[in-house]
Subunit: 262 residues, 2 copies
Amino acid sequence: MESLFIIKIGGNVIDDIASSDTFLSNFASINAKKILIHGGGKIATKIGEQLGIQPNYLNGRRITDAATIDLVTMVYGGLVNKKIVAKLQSLGCNAIGLTGADGNIIPATKRPVKDVDYGFVGDVKIDEVNTNNVEILLANNFTLIVAPLTHDGHGQMLNTNADTIASSLAVALSKSYAVRLVYCFEKNGVLENVDDENSVIPLITKEKYQQLLSENKLFDGILPKIDNAFAAIQSGVQEVLIGNAKHLLQNVTIHTKGTLIK
Amino acid sequence: MESLFIIKIGGNVIDDIASSDTFLSNFASINAKKILIHGGGKIATKIGEQLGIQPNYLNGRRITDAATIDLVTMVYGGLVNKKIVAKLQSLGCNAIGLTGADGNIIPATKRPVKDVDYGFVGDVKIDEVNTNNVEILLANNFTLIVAPLTHDGHGQMLNTNADTIASSLAVALSKSYAVRLVYCFEKNGVLENVDDENSVIPLITKEKYQQLLSENKLFDGILPKIDNAFAAIQSGVQEVLIGNAKHLLQNVTIHTKGTLIK
């Protein structure tokens, strides 16, 4: 099967124009089919403050009220997405910016209200991802730049976590492509010693993971990422690479940096 | 040649949710390839005010400064575009929202500074419209929803008049399709008597136009629209229909409402 890179970058890469430029140059130079999923960074919070939209948190999770879904549709789907697209086009990459509503690529269901009403948040069912439309675009040499937004099929945009968008697309497309899922974050990879960015563990297999767990060596916040990575692999994704956007993409095809999960 | 409808709606249709819903239902039901170009309406001005962005006019034309291009990229390319896309998807129309940067469909040049610096305004050269990418999308049954934004090929988004986007796409695509260009505005069509919405002139030929001109019968503001219409027809567009969004699209295929220019 043909290779497909699905690469997720966090808000911190977007916020820093210099690292964003380097990142996008590296991304543009990947000579294979590719999809980029981006978060929104601090700019959404900043513009929200200017518009008088008060962030509303519950157990550390932001509630997406009506004003907030409009805000993130503007900022993620408009400003951030189109800046990335225009930059990639200037680098010769045939980028096309999409939300989950465009071409109905990622339909979602508004999260049911149980104890908490998270508001306009979309839960994705992987088997509803419109792989047909995604594959048409990829086959015609478009590079998809996807904002972390979905829609409910009844005209309402929804907010969906960018990691979830990335893993949902990765699993859904693994039937047609050899998918390599890349999570860029602020650390160089999974570290043996959380304070030493040079202690990257180059490869984590299931056995290595069990060993690291039993040795209590994994730093806070990395567990869900590794769990998600193994879940994606179990569902057909070929491999998952975790590391720092600064170094990762230059080497994405040869894996000299970051942590490879297989 | 296959028919292609290129339909431009103004901000007033977007601002009024009720007429917008009717319009989009009618648009979705057009059983042919179609492209929708939308303006931004008053919402961009409203959000700009909330963000403290002062509109900057010169000879009645708005200057697009750095804050304003970000504003319209957010509002036109994000909020308005995605609301239309989500609504059309709910109506079974395979809408995909784009700016001129996406798939590089409409490259532009920043307007040269002569007497006036209009700022980040893009002038389109019709022969640079990327008809190849547009045709790929149309051939794969996507309905393009285009925000009035272009890019300069060096990473900068630009602001371009929605009428210009519509006529540029219409002329460029007239080599491959029998293009019918539809301008929706607030009047029922070209009127014999500007105060009587029932006095629509159903058909304007070149001869009829000369006659109306010599009789001084054309109301203010309609002349550039008719001139543009004839220019488009001269460049290969099959026909231009001008009228009110409320009535026009129900009848777009049979021309019982509005003014047809041929």
